[in-house]
Symmetry: C2
Subunit: 113 residues, 2 copies
């Protein structure tokens, strides 16, 4: 039933994929996204929630914003950040589902042996 192949993505596409995944390869960024998923927050609230330094948070948010995972708007002197789409949640759910399957399989192996 396997169609024997999807085709090989172009090197440029692979490069874009890897850059995107690299964004998610940092716990700090994932954490920020998770917090923002609970609702819009300003930087001060993110500092309070995570304990990270102001400049660190600002940099990470900058990267996430350039990738379109996060948006922001001014509120006076504050910047209110907001999670922009569901993609990261979807990706994490897929990964988690697979982790679970893998552990269950290992469990069965142990019970047989």
């Amino acid at each position: 039933m396997t169609p024997m192949s999807g085709d090989m993505p172009s090197p440029q596409l692979l490069e874009e994929f890897s850059q995107f995944f690299r964004l998610l390869s940092e716990p700090a960024r994932l954490q920020l996204i998770c917090h923002l998923k609970q609702g819009p927050m300003d930087v001060a609230a993110l500092i309070e929630a995570t304990g990270f330094s102001q400049s660190h948070i600002s940099r990470q948010l900058g990267q996430l914003q350039r990738a379109g995972l996060v948006s922001c708007e001014r509120d006076g002197v504050r910047m209110i950040y907001q999670a922009q789409d569901e993609l990261v949640s979807d990706l994490c759910n897929l990964v988690q589902k697979r982790m679970k399957q893998r552990l269950e399989a290992q469990l069965e192996q142990l019970q047989i042996a």
Copy 2:
């Protein structure tokens, strides 16, 4: 309709997610996975297909194997590697779909302006 929140994943889970995404943050590894998706191959074939050095390929395959994305079996003196599940394809498809949506949105912005 948004349930106003899924809950916040634990730091350990975030760490595992990020480690997994880090695996996919390297074009070389994505490329190896894509080649292996076409069917089982030995290391020599992967060298031929990618132009990477033998030791480089061996290292990357080692990482992918520890994560369960790739499996291998001996055939005499050769090692035949094989892609192990569809997760990576699924993740890439989701990312690609979103990239497309984003570009289409930008296109519309341009036409309005």
